[in-house]
């Protein structure tokens, strides 16, 4: 049995099935109760599971994150909804100090199985600070896992794994993907590994590394090209599943990275650094980064010029494919 679901419906479905199965799972956040979340990810869960499982809270991201850590060490499995990733800046203290660190700081005495579902990414023309992409900061933070699904089916398997993982997991849900398309999502349970990238399509001329909504934008660009391009959906931003990535670049000798985050000190920088360290000899061209610019995410009137699009990706593909030393 499978249902045709979009990303947000798949998440809702997955949360519901795990809530039924594991009574220690509790959702925590504001506007997740009767209203079912601003994007309806928690729709109808309040009615089925009640206020002790779907915990609608006051408006304090820092408090929510800290409380979730406390709940986790006391034996619950809290799932925090971060209404928008940008609001997590308010919770940075609890994020670093407790969420990412308590397991290590306690010498392993405590584990912190908290999943943070955060809405991220641009393209829905919202208010300032509602389109953030802070993957790079997460990658620089030890003690956490960071995953980002790009399809409804994948989302289910990853979210289930996150909900059962003993580590804190940042689960990045791209706002633009929530209702972008539907996919058959099997009714039954299945787990996808949290730390493995996904080969979107094989190719031999160039490796394209990306994740989230950019998987789709990139695929569109690639489909318009003649060249044979390998697309890898990173899926896991932390830890990086680097071996298949290096393998691919060793095969193709060319690479571009596509992400929405700002360029400088962004996630792409680390990927380039690793390819430099472990696959430099195989490179036939510099790696190019197709990214947002080093600016505050712009007002809605110009966000389309900030976000990587099919044309920009195509330019980068052409430039790198055409380069000869």
């Amino acid at each position: 049995m499978a249902e045709s679901l979009n990303l947000v419906a798949s998440i809702n479905h997955t949360l519901r099935s795990e809530l039924r199965k594991n009574e220690r799972l509790r959702l925590v956040g504001y506007d997740i109760g009767p209203v079912g979340g601003m994007f309806r990810a928690t729709e109808n869960l309040f009615e089925e599971f009640g206020e002790d499982r779907i915990i609608d809270t006051p408006l304090t991201e820092n408090g929510i994150l800290g409380m979730a850590v406390g709940m986790a060490i006391a034996g619950d499995r809290p799932v925090v909804e971060m209404q928008f990733l940008g609001f997590m800046y308010n919770a940075w203290g609890q994020f670093i100090y407790h969420l990412a660190n308590l397991h290590q700081k306690s010498g392993g005495a405590f584990k912190v199985p908290v999943t943070i579902r955060a809405v991220f990414g641009g393209g829905i023309k919202p208010l300032p600070f509602h389109s953030e992409s802070t993957e790079a900061w997460f990658m620089h933070t030890p003690g956490i896992r960071v995953v980002c699904p790009s399809t409804p089916r994948q989302a289910k398997g990853l979210l289930l794994s996150a909900l059962r993982c003993d580590d804190p997991v940042i689960f990045l849900e791209h706002a633009k993907l929530y209702r972008a398309f539907r996919e058959e999502v099997p009714e039954e349970e299945y787990l996808l590994p949290l730390d493995k990238c996904r080969l979107v399509q094989e190719g031999s001329d160039l490796t394209l590394l990306t994740w989230g909504n950019m998987v789709h934008v990139s695929t569109e660009a690639v489909n318009k090209m003649d060249a044979s391009i390998e697309i890898i959906d990173l899926v896991s931003l932390a830890p990086l599943d680097i071996e298949p990535i290096l393998e691919s670049v060793r095969k193709t000798g060319r690479c571009i990275i596509v992400h929405e985050a700002r360029r400088t000190a962004g996630p792409g920088a680390e990927l380039i650094a690793l390819i430099n360290e472990y696959a430099l000899e195989w490179l036939k061209a510099p790696i190019k980064r197709v990214t947002g610019f080093d600016v505050a995410f712009p007002d809605t009137s110009t966000e389309e010029f900030y976000l990587p699009n099919v044309e920009r990706i195509t330019y980068a593909l052409e430039a790198v494919l055409g380069f000869e030393f």
């Binding site: 009767p34 006051p58 408090g63 080093d294 110009t302 330019y315």
Partner: protein, 384 residues
Amino acid sequence: MGKLKWPERRPQEDFERILSPEGELVGERPAIDDAELLRWHEVMVKTRMLEDMGVRLQRRGVFSVAGGGPGEEAIGVGAGAALNPGDWLHPSYRQNASLLYWDIPLDRTFGALLGHAPEHVRAHLPLDPADAPKVKLTPYAVFLGAHIPVAAGTALTDKLNKRDHVSLAFIGEGATSEGDFHDGLGLAGVLKAPLVVVIANNGWSISIPSSRQTAAETFAQKAVAHGIPHRRVDGNDVFAVYSATKAGVDAARAGQGACVIEAVSYRMTSHNTADQADIYRDDTELEYWAQRDPIDRFEKYLTKCGLLDNTYKEAQRERIDIELRNAVNRALEIPATPADTMFLNHLHGDPGWLFKHQQEELAAEIAGKNPFMDFDGSGLGKGE
């Protein structure tokens, strides 16, 4: 059986009130002349019409989102009117009435709603300095509560530089749960900063009712944590809001430090056009609050005073409608924000080679040239 919802708690009416819902004086009318009272009324009506228009334009797809505070106009006007020119006003998205009281240019407001960058809006809707708002305004804080420490800062600097000014900040009752609120009040308390914080308690923070927001009976009492005086007023009574705020502003100006005022009102609509309140709340409270509408109440009073009649009101509506339409039209004539605007106002002076390189990349892209052709740091301009 209906959907499961959080229970609403109707707030205690043991607050300060001067004008009853029936438009009767039940306290001392502040010493305000009739002309100013009519201005208050005008601002309240204009605010409601502005927000109505915003919602209509959002429905037509002109704005991506719009909102407002119908039913909360007395808070913005009453508190805003307590300020002097030169004071700081730190608004919230909900208290448009305070901005209109201080004559923010409506065309620019619509320009922002269209998603244009502020520098672009300013450039295309120039303003005679004489028409500029006479209070100092910050952009409203998208990060809820974050403006409270900032407001403590503007207040402190005015005080330390012996300027005779105060800072006033509006905040929703929900946002008082953010640590920022306490951070700012704690500092203002210790440093005796001339800060007045007006909590607009409209009962809801999107889908969270105030009963789920705090276990405290009132939001005003949060000030107790910081040794700051507090008052609680009927937020739909413009006289009560004004009097309490004016007393707070005067005390702050006189060197007595900060204060907090809770203005009790109700969010009569959804949170904004992206929200659907009927999913999570019943309309049982709406009638109660409709009977307490701040504009109705004030109009009853003004009518009794002989300051208002239907002819006046009709002419007023027409006048405002034209003003708003003109403002919208001016805003709609703003050309598209140039893409390069996103690079403005990050650093003063030289932003560095990499930043300029990115500017060139975008320019190349827009010009149809390949922005990725620089492989040796020699710059662009040779793409395609």
